[in-house]
Point group: C2
Chain length 333, copies 2
């Protein structure tokens, strides 16, 4: 909050720079999320759309197209596509996670029911595919449909890795690429491709989105252990109580003594968690430097994101993306 | 069963005629349903794929392409796309319906969990979009992505119309178009379009698929009240116990006396069903001729399907499709 009073955040600057394009995206989203036949659909989607996420992903598409000098109309469709895919996955995630809160508000599965969340999520997926077809660009279609498959694969992998102490950093990275980075990188790459950017620029923007998404997700997973709930909308240790194997936990478990290991086995594999277990978990993470090492990883991915931008044309939006990479991990400093 | 000993059914004949193409479809489906990273995916999909549906929908795509003289390779991708969309919707349907059986076997949501069904369904949707992009035909992409949206819309509509006595035949038809006919007509139309068929042939094959799908679904809904469970894999009155407003019920309710209406209100709106209610329901349907009228509707849609074929080139496969339209309602005679 202080941030936005003292100086605009990179997100604010992006929003200002892309203002009229984002207006067009919002209009398109509102137009396409309705359904002539099924009034339940806009009820559920409006709830999510008006909860007002930061719309980071569609802004990435618009930003990439802008940097690459695009002047056509189709980046708006691609940005809306990306937001629809994101919203659909949120609906399904909340069913799978049995979440009760999202962005500080009750989730759709709680307000309506799981059935509505599953089916309205399917509707948004289908709508996203209709949207992505309209620009008539087959390469963009390949990028976005591949991203959708990677996302779903990541979600399934996360489900089967859940509560499995053997989950290593490689698997974690694959999950993070699926659940977060795949859509970030598809957002930036598709913006470049619709603009007809040269191959190396499209590649650089893909790399930027990939690294930014990974930095963003690692930061999110770290904040679950050291954030404060008013900033994140989540409670400290939610992932721990859900027995999710995120990076801080994976690092602590890798370094665990036999005695510590049996603690982890009990709290993660068997669900017999007790009062005070979260404090023990935090102490063990601290002992092995797991939180600090996780923070280092996040910062390293943010640096990779910044580096990826180097070969791109000099452009005000490029500078904002540069600062955005720092911003997603600044919460950790 | 007797049927297939005495004379081949239209389905058997289609399968024989399209044998090598269907082999290619099966191979492609097996290849694309795996996931390098998430072994849970093939477990769940193999369970469904090997349960061995009749593969009616992919055969419709192949049949349409064949009638239109197609000699390229891409109808196989489109047929696999259609089957993936179908399988994904089955997975999500079983979650929404809380089903325990599908094709006489336990459902995936029962064998694994709802979470796996939701996420693996998403994966198959995404895979279907990857597959449909590959032929590089934008018109086919429009047809199939529109169908996916219509399917999802129909499912949501079905959910909000559930247990609502005010549901009329118009809404029922919209639901049926969504949950069944949209994929049938997309299957046939996309087969025609990939073959570069003239507009009126593509239109005729769309109409055929639409009418066939509606006839098929009405027959299915009728059999729920008059079939036998060994033939359908369902128990008599399952829809009644689920309080689903299908055509026989809608017709009986439209003709109900005030006294009958309060019976319907109790059993459909309030869930207070008692032993013997199904017999009362059947007697009321019989009294108002609801079952006979439903049968008439199914036969009329089958006739429309046959009629749609008239303008198509004379072809052995066209004759099989003609007989197939009779076959999907023959179970009712």
């Amino acid at each position: 909050m202080m941030d936005s009073i003292l100086s605009p955040t990179p997100l604010d600057r992006l929003a200002a720079e892309l203002g009229s394009d984002m207006e067009a995206v919002s209009t398109l989203i509102r137009k396409r999320m309705v359904s002539r036949h099924a009034p339940r659909i806009p009820e559920v989607t409006a709830h999510l759309v008006e909860a007002g996420g930061k719309r980071l992903r569609p802004m990435l598409t618009l930003a990439a197209a802008r940097i690459c000098g695009y002047e056509g109309p189709w980046h708006v469709h691609l940005a809306a596509t990306v937001e629809f895919i994101h919203t659909a996955t949120l609906l399904h995630d909340d069913v799978v996670d049995e979440s009760a809160q999202r962005r500080g508000r009750p989730t759709a599965n709680l307000l309506w029911d799981n059935k509505s969340s599953v089916l309205v999520g399917d509707y948004l997926f289908a709508r996203s595919f209709q949207l992505m077809v309209e620009p008539g660009n087959l390469r963009v279609l390949g990028i976005l449909s591949n991203a959708a498959a990677t996302i779903a694969e990541g979600e399934v992998l996360q489900l089967s890795a859940a509560r499995d102490l053997a989950t290593g950093e490689d698997t974690y990275l694959q999950i993070v690429r699926g659940k977060t980075a795949a859509l970030f990188s598809a957002a930036t790459e598709s913006g470049a491709v619709i603009a007809g950017a040269p191959e190396d620029h499209a590649r650089a923007l893909f790399e930027y989105g990939d690294a930014l998404g990974i930095a963003f997700q690692i930061a999110d997973d770290l904040l679950d252990y050291q954030g404060n709930s008013s900033a994140t909308g989540k409670n400290i240790g939610d992932d721990f109580r859900d027995r999710k194997l995120t990076l801080p936990l994976i690092k602590a478990i890798a370094a665990a003594s036999p005695e510590e290991r049996s603690f982890w086995k009990r709290v993660i594999e068997t669900s017999r968690q007790e009062e005070g277990d979260i404090d023990t978990a935090l102490a063990l993470m601290e002992r092995h430097g797991a939180l600090a090492a996780t923070r280092e990883d996040a910062l390293r991915w943010a640096e990779r994101a910044r580096d990826a931008l180097r070969t791109l044309p000099d452009h005000p939006v490029r500078h904002i993306l540069h600062d955005l990479a720092d911003y997603v991990v600044a919460r950790l400093l």
